[in-house]
Each structure stands twice: as C-alpha cells, then as structure tokens.
Amino acid sequence: MNWDKKDLLGIKELSKEEILLVLDTADSFKDISKREIKKVPTLRGKTVITLFYEPSTRTRTSFEIAAKRLSADTINISSGTSSSVKGETLKDTARNLESMRPDAIVIRHSMPGAPHMLAKILDSSVVNGGDGAHEHPTQALLDLFTIREKKGRIDGLKVVIIGDIAHSRVARSNFFILRHFNTEVVCSGPPTMIPPDIESLGVKAEYDMNKAVRDADVIMMLRIQKERGGISFIPSVKEYSTLYGLRKEHIEKAKKDVIIMHPGPMNRGIEIADEVADGPYSVILDQVENGVAVRMAILYLLIGREA
C-alpha cells in the first residue's frame, strides 16, 4: 500500500485502498489522544496553516489539535484576520503564506474548487476543509471511520442521509465514499433540497422520511445550509422540522442497533430532537473524537513523508 497524493482535495479523487489506509492509520493515531501525554514527534518541525474563510469551530480546532498532537506547529487564519478584508485575492494570500514555507495549508472556503485552485499553484500540501457545497473529505472519512468502528463493518449497511442534500458538502463526500462499499445509500429531504440527478451518484432518493429510515443501520442528519440559501427552499423551518426532524418514532422504524450521526453544528429541535441527539444511539460525540484521529492520519500521510 502506498500514498502518493500531495493534496487531499476530495473523496472523489481517492481509491478504496487509499480510503482504507486513512482509516487504518487513524486507528493507530486514535490511541494517542487517550494517553496522558497526547503527543508524538511524527511531524516535528512541520508547519500547518489553517486558512478558514467560513466560520468553523469543530473542523478548525480538530485540525489544529491533530497537527499539535503530531508535534507540528500550527497557525490559524480566519477570514476576519486575513487580508481578504483588505481585498487581497485568495491566490495572492495563498502565495504569500507559501513564502513562509508551511508544509500544509488546510483551507475552508464558501466556493467549490477553491482548494483545487490553490493545489495547482502551491508546493505545500492542500487539504480541503470544506469547499462550498462540493466536498468535505475529512468529514466523510471520519464518518466512515465511526461507522466502521461502531458497526464493525461497512459492507451490507443501509445508510440514510437526511436534510439539505443539495447544499451539503458532507452529503456529497459521504456519497462518494460509500459508493466504494457494498452499502445501500438513501437520501431524504424536501424535493427542493435534493438535486434532480442525485441517483447518478448511486444514491436512492426517498422524499418520505418515514420510509427512508426503515431498517436503517446508520442515520445521518444534516442541518439546513442557511449560508447557502437553504431557507428559501422550504416554506418554513417549523414545517421542515415537522417533516424532517429526527425523533424517537423514526428510530423505532430503523434497525435496533441503529446509530445516529450528525456532522454538526446541530440545530436542536429543528433537524434533531434532544431525546435523539443525547440518546443512546447517538454517536455524534464519537464523530468529533474520531475527527482528530482521521485528521492526524491525513496530515501524516500528506506531509509525514518525502514525496
């Protein structure tokens, strides 16, 4: 098994072997976070920059902790502190950052393809920390890691993803990752939030959430992407919550050992009821924990070794 990618731009570009390598590597890194001394020297002397043009707590912190646990130095730049407020273009910002010789730049941007643009011009490794409605590869990897950890397998599972599919990079990356496995993937949500050609990704669309969750092994809830105009696709949040909010009654229709996932941030009482979010089926906090391990694996694979 080998890894020869400079960048992690999307799940689309990964082979099944590469996906499994990330998961297995993450498995080894996960233990470090459980120790008293949560640090290994693997990336000593390396520098990781997180460049976030969209608000984020979880992902940015997760990357930062991942880098630090591997002994890399981290610098965080968010849109409020970057020169974008002074009118500098993304390319110029990235070129300037690269002059300071970082090893990896993790970028989050509202526009699809922004990381791809940087990857073409930078020698540093570029990690896509979410680009618009396109991809969020580390999220899909940590989701798959969590599924495998909790279920002991990936093949044969029914995974249901519910919510604003059209505007969700998490949904897209999960579709791309799950199609490598023998899984039944169903998406559900208001028809206005499900793109017409979604089935081309090997996903079944079922608008009726009650039908969609039937016999599910995994239910993944998404939030409404308000920042991408999600609200205008539904009459009201209240109606959305009635039709697509996950409640106990849905869980009863799923498999007995169903797990409930959410990439966060959650809107309690909208797409997920408290009783579910905090219930025994919820693995939402495990996802966050696994996120660190998966991002350690990604950083190690990208910059831990000479090309």
Binding site: M111, G113, H116, G132, A133, H134, R169, D197, L201
Partner: protein, 430 residues
C-alpha cells in the same frame, strides 16, 4: 489592382457552388468567377489557391468587441484582427459596452473606430433597452440610421415581456431582427449546467429550463406581432425542440449555437477550470447530441462565436467569481469543421451557417461571391492540423477551454473589401 485567386475549390453555399473555379477581383469587387481564368494582365496579383478551399468570408452574428469601455478585454482593432485570423470578414458586436450601445453616438463611435482601425467589417447591434436595464426602449431609430443591424440586450433577457413586445413591433419599422438571449434569471443564478456534473461539483447550477422557458416566451411574443426573431447561443435540447416545432408554423424564426456547445459538455467543468465557465453553460451529453442533430436538420441556421474575451485576472480567481465567456473567434471555424468530418454536415452546409444564413438574417450584402459583389473571401485548408496556443492569439482574450487542443482545418488567407488582411505564415506569398 486586379487579384486572381487561382486553382482553388470554391464553395459558396449562397449560390449552390462547389467547384474548382478561379476568382478575379478588381479592387474591392468580384469581377469574374470562372473556370481557368488566365493570368494575362501585367501587375495582376495571383494567389495560388491550389489544394485549398475558397469561400465567402465568414460572418459572425454574435461577438463582444468590448469597445468602448472595456479596452483592457478587447478593442475593435484586436477583436477584428482575431476575427480575420479565424476567417471572419464581418462581425456583429453586442451592445453591452460601457457606455451601452443604446444611442446613436455610441453606434457612431463603433462604426467610425471600426472604419479606422478594424481589420474587417463591423456591424453594431443596438441595445433593446436603455442601459440594458429592460425598462424603456433605447433610441432604436437613430441607431439604425447610424448603422446597427440588429437589436439585442444580449447578456440577459428582456425581463419585461411588455417591453419585449414593443421592441419586436418597433423592429418591424426598420426591418432589423431582434436577437434573443434566452435566460430566465429567476431560474438561473448559477455558474454551470444543472446536471450530472453539478451534482458532483456542488457548484450553483443553471438548469436547462432557464433557457427553454424564455425561448417559448420570446417566440410567442414575436409571433403575436408577426416579427422576425433570432434566438442566440441556443444550448439545450428543450429549446431546440421548441424552436423546431415553432418553425413549422411560423417562418420568421432563426437561431444560432456556438462551437463550444457541440465541442464540450458539462464534465469539462469538473476540474474547476474557469475557462470552461460560459453562459449559457456547457451542457449535458444529451444536449450536445441535440445541438448536432439540430445543426444537421437545419433547426439551427447559424453558428456564432459568442466571442467573449476577458483579461487574465478576471479568470484567475475562484470559479464562482470568474467572468463568463470564451474567446472564440480564432477557434470557432476550426472546431466547426469537425462537424464535416463527423458527417453531421457537408462542407457546403457548414459554410451556409457561417455565410449566407447570417447575411440573410442581418440583411447585409455579403456572405456570397458573385460578379459585382464585395471582395470578402477566405482561403482555408480543412486538412491542416494545428494546436491551439493562446500565446498566438491576436485577441486580447486568452480565455479558452480549447487551449492545447489539436484542431484540424486552418484559415490561411482573409481578404476583406479586396485587401489581404490576414495571411497565415504557412501560406506562402505568391
């Protein structure tokens, strides 16, 4: 001075000619077309066209020459130089300049600049509405006097159907066509075609119906007032079905498409190359096939370039922020020759869509070669292969998704009004 073009195969669809014929030019007029005209006069310039094809100069009904206002993207000078290199001898330039061509002083400026600096004939298209705002009619009559040949708010549709109706009605007085840019901006608002590729890329998308519904509406309005309508840069199957059906009952409909709609599909946008960002967007495989079929069955009458040159920096940004458009004058004809090789069209049928059909639409006396007609012609060779190198572009706009493509078929010589305005380095001087 007389010029004799000797030994070439003349293909002139306007006169149903496809034969080995010589052409004698006297100054800026075609004096004679005949078999084997002898080179007898002293001082006669002889151009050896043996092994090549001679055709009337191509006419582009849709280009953006950007002047006045956006000279950093293109000027009338650079745009027409690109045109003659690509085989065009007449170009219609759209009204979305700054200031907008919605009054006679702008029209006059364009006409005058083209006369002084242009490498080919330039025909301005006037704006339908003042400032392209879709609110009130522009000074159509005065612009016609100054030289516009068509009306269009190209870049957007006229949102107000009442105003559109007035434009169609008013156009009847001056016998100029209204050119419809078909896009419902309530359905639009994206950057790529809505379909398989946009599902993958997550880019905001433009569905095919954004074009289709306006095609229906504009045809209905034109038909109601019995005015001619030309629908430009048609890109989707639904539009073409609507046009084909409407043409059966109403004879005043014409339409064009552009080479990128039969050369590329939406998948090309998956790498986020901003040079693939164009409006209408690159469509699906099915749409591409429909465009080819419509070219074959003459639902599509004309091939236009929608030449939309841009400065490098406007494309060197995030996909969402990049400008729409392809610099097309220098690749359009070569890309279109593939239709002949693929058996979609005969060479004569293809040339009709570049010459006589646009001339008829615009009511201009070009696009065909007869005794007494203007000496606008090209010599090209459909077998010569070349690679698209944007460094060699004469247009200021280097924005093309065809960079690096190997194309077959090259324009070698362009004569406008009797003067050689372009000569390819491969085409040796006599």
């Amino acid at each position: 001075m007389k010029t004799l073009i000797k030994g070439g195969r003349l293909v002139d669809p306007g006169r149903e000619i496809d034969a080995k014929l010589d052409i004698l030019l006297n100054g800026n007029i075609v004096e004679k077309i005949d078999k084997n005209i002898l080179d007898k006069g002293s001082g006669m310039r002889v151009i050896d066209a043996a092994g090549h094809i001679v055709a009337p100069g191509l006419i582009d009904v849709h280009a953006h020459l950007r002047e006045p206002g956006y000279e950093y993207k293109e000027t009338i000078r650079t745009g027409t130089m690109a045109a003659v290199k690509g085989g065009f001898t007449s170009v219609v330039c759209m009204a979305n300049t700054d200031p907008v061509n919605d009054n006679k002083s702008v029209t006059e400026y364009i006409v005058k600049t083209a006369r002084l600096e242009g490498a080919c004939r330039v025909f301005p298209c006037g704006a339908i509405s003042k400032g392209l705002k879709g609110e009130e009619l522009s000074d159509i009559g005065e612009m016609c006097e100054a030289g516009i040949v068509a009306l269009s708010d190209d870049g957007k549709s006229v949102k107000n159907a009442g105003l559109l109706r007035k434009a169609f009605e008013y156009s009847l007085l001056f016998r100029i066509p209204v050119i419809s840019h078909c896009e419902d901006d309530n359905l639009s608002g994206g950057f790529v075609h809505e379909g398989l590729a946009s599902v993958k890329s997550g880019l905001d998308a433009i569905p095919s119906i954004a074009e289709e519904v306006i095609v229906h509406r504009d045809i209905a309005v034109a038909r109601y007032v019995n005015a001619p309508i030309h629908l430009t840069h048609i890109s989707v199957q639904g539009s073409l079905e609507a046009i084909a059906a409407a043409k059966k009952g109403y004879g005043k409909i014409t339409c064009d498409t552009c080479p990128h709609y039969f050369s590329l599909i939406d998948e090309a946008t998956l790498g986020f190359d901003t040079n693939t960002k164009v409006n209408p967007p690159l469509r699906s495989r099915q749409d591409l096939d429909a465009v080819k079929e419509a070219l074959r069955n003459n639902t599509i009458d004309i091939i236009a370039t929608d030449h939309a040159p841009h400065e490098f920096t406007s494309k060197d940004v995030e996909f969402n922020l990049a400008t729409f458009g392809i610099s097309g004058l220098e690749t359009a004809f070569a890309l279109s020759l593939a239709l002949v090789r693929d058996g979609v069209l005969t060479l004569k049928e293809l040339l009709a869509k570049f010459t006589v059909n646009p001339a008829r639409l615009l009511n201009i006396p070009y696009g065909t070669l007869a005794q007494g007609s203007a000496a606008d012609l090209i010599i090209f060779n459909p077998a010569i292969e070349w690679t698209v190198d944007t460094e060699q572009f004469l247009s200021k706009g280097r924005n093309t998704p065809f960079r690096g493509w190997k194309l077959k078929g090259k324009n070698l010589l362009t004569i406008v009004d009797g003067k050689i305005v372009y000569r390819d380095p491969l085409f040796k001087k006599a």
